[in-house]
Amino acid sequence: MEPERVIGDLEKRFPGEIVEASRDGVDLVLVIRLEALLRIMGSLKEPPYSYKLLLDLTCVDFRRDAGSFEMVYHLYSLDAGRRVRVKVRLPADAPLMDSLASLWRNANWLEREVYDMFGVVFKGHPDLKRILMYDGFEGFPLRKDYPLRRRQPKADKGNTT
């Protein structure tokens, strides 16, 4: 489906949920509201849009400038060869959102990584725990207020087994 048609279609099906829509070459960029995430992503995955491949799921810390986190999703349609970037703004004081693990299986690990690095909690995630840092690590490294060089050595208090 052509990008403009996708935008028009989505705006008809989800009135008021799409905050912004633009084009990036042949790809689409959508900014949507937090409450509509699961519904819009669910319908983007199905025909006629068929963005079946969840390429990426990440977060950007815009708390200093905009007071919010921004979740960024990249989807890809294998038939059309087109991508869509979906962005959702998340309030800084309540970083809680729906999990996409029911729609795409790699969302499981991707959301664990976002939780580990930013502290965003995903409702409905089967097993939300740290993935890259060790258990017992305090803080969320990729947040802007976490200094790069803070040392938190993993001390096992003598017992190394």
Partner: protein, 441 residues
């Protein structure tokens, strides 16, 4: 998925620890066994998390290039190319044509090196040590070619924003032909050793299979996805550099099992060798050098002359600047001096060059892209390698995120080994080609 070991099942917990001889780096696979059969497993990653994304927020766009080398460290030049192309999309520039061909050549040599290492490691873990030794031998010849031009065997930091660092070495053709010839010989030998080998077939055929729908649901890309039969190659679907002018096939598998992944990689090696030969033949010639007094001037002499007049003619540069002389600079780097360094002759003999060089590295100056974001992906050794860069107008990226292909591939490992024997874990894991630097970033 997590598992709680249940004592009533009378099962044993085995830890395939972070340091294991299957030389894929550091991944921990905890399996719950009943006898030899795996009931449940959990994969723990993050043992090589080196803080790449956070580090990049503290480095300028130019100086973070060496960090990209160390991501997928078996094909480092592809990571460089992905980053350079993402930045060029953000800046709206394009590298010169000769530089693009050189980039394709280097990317394909890196891809050959990646697949050679992957198949060699998989073979060695299944017990075929000869395959490992033969493929490492071929890899050395490939690395020789890369070393002639870039100066480094592995982590080259060669492909830069705006072009490449230096032109190809004048004698690269002989080394390249030798590398291609030796790799073809090795491939023929390995086909003979492994393709019909009963032991290898027993360990790989029918194991670790995934249907195309499941593979797409897990976010698989690259050789692993193509082994299930889904045709998705970034070089063909969203061509970048000069791949649309080159003739190559995209091999597909049918079953998605370990054997198909091995076969897809072997056939891709063949295709990459074809691309390398085509690129070397189709390379645009260097710009003709202007006639004149061609005896190179010593650097100190050139600086002395430059005090009175412009220096014309070549300057004898230090050997590690070989290939980036002024007369080839237009072929290898874009002319827009906001994003690239000036040639060394200009830096040391002209005022404009000196200021340009100085401002490039000054704190707060240098490459400052317009505010915005970009996502660009290239075909890495494991699949779609994407860079998502958010720029806020300063000289450091606000956020740089890597779409690591093997992160998604390894997330399916628990599903692949469930219900299998412990011995099946090794060829399955080997065929996925997990690279720690890319997985954990």
């Amino acid at each position: 998925m997590t598992f709680e070991p249940r004592p009533e099942r009378n099962s044993m917990l085995l830890n395939l620890g972070p340091s294991h001889p299957a030389m894929h780096g550091t991944v921990r696979i905890m399996v719950e066994l009943e006898g030899e059969r795996i009931l449940n497993s959990e994969v723990e990653i993050g043992y090589l998390h080196r803080g790449f994304e956070k580090t990049c927020e503290n480095r300028t766009y130019f100086t973070l290039l060496p960090y990209t080398d160390r991501l997928n460290y078996v094909s480092p030049l592809i990571n460089n190319a992905g980053y350079a192309l993402a930045m060029e999309k953000l800046l709206g520039i394009e590298a010169p044509e000769r530089a693009q061909y050189i980039r394709v050549l280097m990317c394909e040599l890196s891809r050959i090196s990646d697949h050679l290492t992957s198949v060699a490691a998989m073979g060695m873990e299944c017990g075929a040590f000869t395959v490992f030794l033969y493929m490492m031998k071929a890899r050395e010849y490939i690395w020789d070619v890369i070393e002639f031009t870039t100066g480094a065997r592995m982590t080259a930091s060669y492909i830069r924003i705006g072009g490449v660092r230096a032109d190809l070495h004048p004698d690269y053709r002989a080394a390249l032909e030798k590398a291609v010839r030796e790799t073809r010989k090795v491939l023929k030998d390995v086909h003979g050793l492994l393709d019909g080998n009963k032991i290898f077939l027993d360990r790989t055929k029918g194991l670790g299979a995934l249907t195309p729908e499941e593979a797409v649901s897990y976010g698989w890309t690259g050789p692993c996805l193509r082994s299930t039969g889904v045709r998705y190659d970034v070089r063909k679907s969203r061509p970048y550099l000069v791949y649309d002018r080159l003739d190559f096939d995209v091999p597909l598998g049918s079953n998605g099992d370990n054997y198909d992944r091995y076969m897809v990689r072997m056939m891709e090696l063949d295709q990459s060798l074809r691309i390398v030969e085509q690129t070397a033949a189709a390379l645009p010639p260097r710009a003709p050098i202007a006639a004149g007094d061609r005896r190179p001037v010593e650097p100190s002499e050139a600086i002395r002359i430059s005090r009175g007049q412009r220096v014309v003619g070549p300057v004898r540069l230090s050997p590690n600047l070989e290939g980036s002389e002024k007369d080839v600079y237009g072929d290898i780097q874009t002319a827009d001096r906001r994003w690239t360094l000036p040639p060394k002759e200009d830096t040391y003999t002209t005022m404009e060059g000196l200021i340009n060089h100085f401002l490039f590295f000054m704190q707060g100056r240098g490459i400052r892209p317009p505010k915005g974001e970009v996502y660009f992906s290239v075909e890495g050794g494991n699949g779609e390698l994407g860079y998502y860069i958010v720029s806020d107008g300063t000289d450091r990226p606000y956020r740089l995120h890597l779409r690591a292909p093997c992160f998604h591939i390894v997330s399916a490992l628990e599903r692949l080994i469930k219900g299998r024997y412990v011995a099946d874990v090794i060829p399955t894991f080997g065929s996925l080609n997990m690279i720690g630097g890319e997985l954990d970033r």
